[in-house]
């Protein structure tokens, strides 16, 4: 893990809401694995502002990229950074996804910008698989070219039907599960908590393993402050409180003690 001052290479809009930030961050980029994250100190915010965590989207040579949606003060300020600006980057942090199991078809399930670490994962998995991407509208569907260029099967669902199937991404998953009940598959999921839980339930029902990447608000990013925690179940049925930033963010779905929808 490294803490370094990185130079912004590009900070380009993908559409009205999303951007891709590329940094020159050699030590982090060279160590990064799919599912890990980088903890950024957003230049221009007040000095007491906390770092913001971002899943790693690409790591190529010295170049490290993340995708983000402009949703608040931190990402708004991040969107103002230009090529040549500097920012403090800490990483790579967290455990990352396992890189496939022989004989299991990888099925990636993404909600919105949760697709970013899954695109990184697809580039490193030894087997081509299927990616199911969901979003509210067509603008929330990102990175489909990343997967098609690798020869993956890409399926899309949007809540307003503006791209792909109409509905939640689980519509696609249910259709696939019905049509391929006997196909050994392993699931990799990143997106909102409800999506992770929905895929976890289906995977458990199908007797398949699912790897879920949890997104909890973080402070330190290294497991010291205990702000981002998740209850997990041990094989003997007892539970413990894991740190999402340090022990995760990727967990086997069967370990997670899911919280009920509010």
């Amino acid at each position: 893990m490294h803490d370094l001052i990185a130079k912004v290479l590009t900070n380009e809009p993908l559409n009205a809401d999303y951007r891709c930030l590329a940094l020159d961050a050699p030590a982090i980029a060279r160590a990064a694995r799919p599912g890990q994250f980088v903890h950024l100190r957003v230049t221009g915010l007040e000095l007491s502002a906390l770092r913001r965590p971002f899943s790693i989207y690409r790591a190529e040579g010295d170049r490290l990229s993340v995708l983000y949606k402009t949703v608040g003060r931190g990402t708004e300020q991040l969107s103002r950074l230009r090529a040549g600006d500097m920012l403090d980057a800490m990483g790579p942090l967290g455990n990352g996804f396992p890189l496939g199991t022989e004989g299991q078809l990888p099925i990636l399930v993404a909600g919105g910008y949760g697709v970013a670490p899954l695109a990184f994962l697809a580039r490193q998995l030894p087997t081509k698989g299927i990616v199911l991407i969901g979003g509210r509208t067509a603008d929330d569907i990102l990175c489909t070219d990343d997967f098609t260029s690798l020869g993956w099967d890409v399926q899309v669902a949007t809540l307003d039907g503006s791209r792909g199937e109409n509905g939640l991404v689980t519509v696609l998953l249910d259709a696939w599960l019905t049509a391929h009940a006997m196909q050994p598959a392993e699931f990799y999921v990143c997106g909102p908590y409800g999506l992770l839980r929905a895929v976890a339930e289906r995977a458990a029902h199908a007797g398949a393993r699912a790897w879920v990447s949890l997104d909890k608000h973080m402070v330190c990013g290294v497991g010291a402050c205990l702000a981002c925690v998740q209850r997990l179940r041990r094989p003997d049925g007892s539970t413990w409180i894991a740190r999402v930033c340090r022990d995760g963010p990727v967990f086997e779905a069967g370990e997670v003690v899911w919280e009920e929808p509010k």
Partner: protein, 306 residues
Amino acid sequence: MSAHPDMSVELAGIRMKNPVTVASGTFGYGKEYTHLVDLRALGAVTVKGIRLQPWEGNPLPRHVEVPGGMVNAIGLQGPGVDGFVRDYLPFLRETGVPVIVNIWGTSMDEYAEVAARLSDVEGIAGLEVNISCPNVKEGGASFGADPRTVSALVTAVRRRTRLPIIPKLAPNVPNIKPFAQAAAEAGADALSLINTIPAMVIDIETRRPVLANKVGGLSGPAIHPVAVKLVWDAAQAVRIPIIAMGGITDPKQAIEFLIAGATAVAVGTATFIDPTTVLRVIAGIENYLVRHQMTSVKELTGSIKA
């Protein structure tokens, strides 16, 4: 003039190579930051609060960012005495850096029992007695709200340990002096101040408190001037040394604490933002001493002209 002033301090019998430690709860159990901070550079490591049994802490959300800092209600999640001694202490002992363990309980007996149990193991330099955590329903702040309770608690802990005991006082009292005096008279070897300041943030869209615990504790640069005033007040009331904490982000705030009367300081929330803050603070204090032609950091303690 020597280029290297003496940075060492002795605090309640704890020999620190410099006057800088970390605030309990902001540095885990020392292991978490080893990639970025060489623990041997610190004057001491102060670990997160430990009670007798493992404790799960509060539901999420446990923190919220605010201008000038953050409000947290972690709720003292921890591995308990046995878990700490088994999983964390061997590593800390190997570093050779003095280890201060923050302790708490839900009864005076529990505080005393935790103190006794930690006195029986090798490698602990001192006990910071948390009587001011705003985020647990039982224990914590309820033992720090009245000087008589502080006195009774310190007395109970004193009976069960020969380790230096360092009560951590609450900032939200009308006058800190009777609390500091009560602790000192009951046998405290030093004082820590301040803990976070009780605070609350409301989501105006939902009209619900942001934290699951509803209320929490404010930390960060916003609380530093509050802490300086309390350290200055306490330093005039007692002769035992003070570890000062609250909003240190640069050497300047640490030096203020020393001038106000602190013997040592602790870096807290700033570590989350810049993990090397503690190293910058150590270097900055040393530079200050050189610049002001002081031979020892001890000259700085209580040197306020007021």
